[in-house]
């Protein structure tokens, strides 16, 4: 150990002694040091770059995987959500996507420049409102408050559907193209089928107002009108300040005038009535056909004869519906409603002509479409009924 120490001392001493003056001078060359200001400046720059690098790496981490995925998802959502909202009948009033649907429909309407194209959009919108109404009815009632709220929404939808239908028909009429008649016809056929579906889904469980709305809408779509009258019809409906009442009120008003025209043009043949003398019976299509003259058509006061005619018609309807294939509970319920309407119309006929007229119109429409609201009996119950009849 001591030997090693002395060896090291000797080596150092030898190397120093062997180092000439020049090397000593070179080793003693001054060493410059970085000033503190420059040091601070460089450190600041380094920290800035380090920070930027860290942020960039965070960004990179997101951009490589998650950001690409998030971007794709966002893009997908931006395409799918409006598409779903626009196209789906499941998006109904009260849904958070519904305003988006209405907004897109407005854009679609504004983009349609030509009259015929606009009319086609209105026809499509009318069908959409009906489809929404059907979805709402099929969704079930929930609580009593929910039921009332839902029925109000359905009625609004029916009103809007009728309003759009009137505009569509007016547009088809204005465009003057030969193809528009078939388009109008196709729209009404489609509307009628949907309304029948709505009536069947609503049944006799629905409230009086909703049943009336459906029946009146059905009556209007089924009876149809000549295209030349639709423009006037639309102008009349547009004048009305309250959109909610537009469909039903316009219907009552226009229907009255139409009845006049129809009676002049031989309405009986057009509607396929099987009894021109005011007898109520089911026609060959299974639909109930009304009197040749409406109870209050063309008059301003309730006429006793018309009331008695309607009553007779309802009695016949009651007999017609007393068939094994119909649920008699529904028939009874519907008959009660009709009775109540007629009775009420009789009561207010002297004091409130307009009210009485509305009641008669709704009673007429309801009796006309009564079959659609009544459920058919199941096959099992029908078979058991037949068996019991045979035994008798």
């Amino acid at each position: 150990m001591i030997t090693l120490f002395f060896f090291n001392v000797w080596v150092n001493l030898f190397s120093t002694l062997s180092m000439d003056k020049l090397e000593i001078k070179l080793n003693n060359l001054p060493k410059a040091r970085l000033g503190w200001r420059a040091d601070l400046k460089i450190k600041t720059r380094l920290y800035t770059v380090i920070l930027r690098k860290r942020l960039a790496s965070e960004k990179m981490r997101f951009s490589s995987g998650s950001r690409a995925l998030a971007g794709s998802l966002l893009l997908l959502i931006l395409i799918i959500v409006p598409g779903y909202a626009y196209a789906s009948a499941a998006v109904v009033p009260g849904d958070f996507l519904y305003p988006l649907k209405i907004g897109l429909e407005k854009i679609e309407l504004n983009l349609a420049r030509e009259t015929e194209k606009k009319a086609e959009v209105y026809a499509e919108l009318s069908a959409r409102r009906l489809a929404e109404a059907k979805t709402m009815i099929e969704a079930g009632d929930g609580t009593e408050a929910d039921k009332a709220d839902k029925e109000e929404k359905i009625k609004n939808n029916l009103d809007q559907a009728l309003s759009f239908r009137a505009r569509a028909l007016s547009g088809f009429s204005d465009s003057g193209s030969g193809a528009t008649t078939s388009k109008a016809k196709a729209m009404d056929e489609r509307g009628e089928a949907m309304l029948i579906n709505i009536a069947q889904s609503a049944g006799t469980r629905a409230g009086d107002d909703l049943v009336d709305s459906i029946a009146l809408a059905l009556d209007r779509v089924k009876n149809g009108k000549s295209l030349k009258n639709y423009k006037e019809d639309r102008e009349e409906t547009e004048k009305r300040p309250d959109d909610r009442e537009e469909g039903r009120s316009a219907f009552i008003r226009v229907a009255s005038s139409t009845e006049e025209e129809k009676s002049e043009e031989g309405r009986d043949n057009e509607r396929g009535f099987n009894n021109a003398n005011g007898r109520w019976a089911l026609d060959k299509n299974g639909r109930f056909s009304g009197t040749s003259t409406s109870p209050l058509t063309g008059t301003t006061t309730a006429d006793r004869d018309d009331i008695s005619n309607l009553r007779k018609g309802v009695d016949r309807l009651k007999k017609d519906l007393r068939r094994p294939e119909f649920e008699q509970k529904d028939v009874d319920d519907l008959m009660d409603r009709l009775e109540r309407k007629i009775k009420k119309a009789e009561e207010i006929g002297e004091t409130d002509e307009d009210g009485a007229q509305s009641l008669f119109r709704s009673a007429e429409a309801l009796s006309d479409n009564a079959r659609h609201f009544i459920r058919k009996r199941s096959v099992d119950s029908e078979n058991s009924l037949k068996k019991s009849q045979r035994k008798k």
């Binding site: 410059a32 460089i42 380094l46």
Partner: protein, 160 residues
């Protein structure tokens, strides 16, 4: 990683500054800027630095390349202000170390290759292995060059 780099910076900042100070004719401001550039470059490429190698050799190599680039640019645009500041700085420095003026003069008279190896050895205090790494040459070559540089320096001083 970042902490490592800052540790290295604190360890080698003076050496790199000194490297430029000697090679840029004792221009302090320019040497500071060059030092900053070298460390920023090193930070940018720090991920590629092999931890098994010497950081000193690596940073000196960057400094050397940066200096070469600087010379290239300086050759194209010889700034008058830089020339003025050079002379002032050098004069101050030489006055401070009056006894070394003959050595400085002799070193400046040496060919570039010998001057470089001498500076790395005596002003930057790099050992032969590190000098070899910076100059991309073998240790034997470095040893030979140092011997030749010292010999040339001795001759130059003796002749004066």
């Amino acid at each position: 990683m970042t902490e490592d780099f800052l540790k290295y910076y604190n360890q080698y900042k003076d050496k790199i500054f000194n490297y430029f100070w000697y090679r840029l004719n004792f221009n302090r401001a320019l040497s500071e800027d060059m030092t900053q550039d070298v460390f920023l470059k090193a930070l940018d490429k720090f991920e590629t630095f092999d931890r098994d190698c010497s950081f000193q050799a690596w940073i000196f190599r960057i400094a050397k390349n940066h200096l070469i680039n600087h010379y290239r640019v300086a050759q194209r645009e010889t700034a008058l202000s830089e020339a003025e500041s050079k002379s002032v700085d050098m004069e101050d420095s030489l006055n401070t170390h009056f006894e070394l003026d003959d050595v400085f003069a002799a070193i400046n008279a040496l060919p570039e290759k010998l001057r470089e190896v001498l500076c790395l050895r005596y002003t930057d205090s790099l050992d032969n292995r590190e000098i070899a790494s910076v100059l991309d040459a073998s240790e034997g070559t470095v040893r030979t060059r140092i011997c030749r540089a010292l010999e040339a320096l001795r001759k130059s001083i003796k002749n004066k």
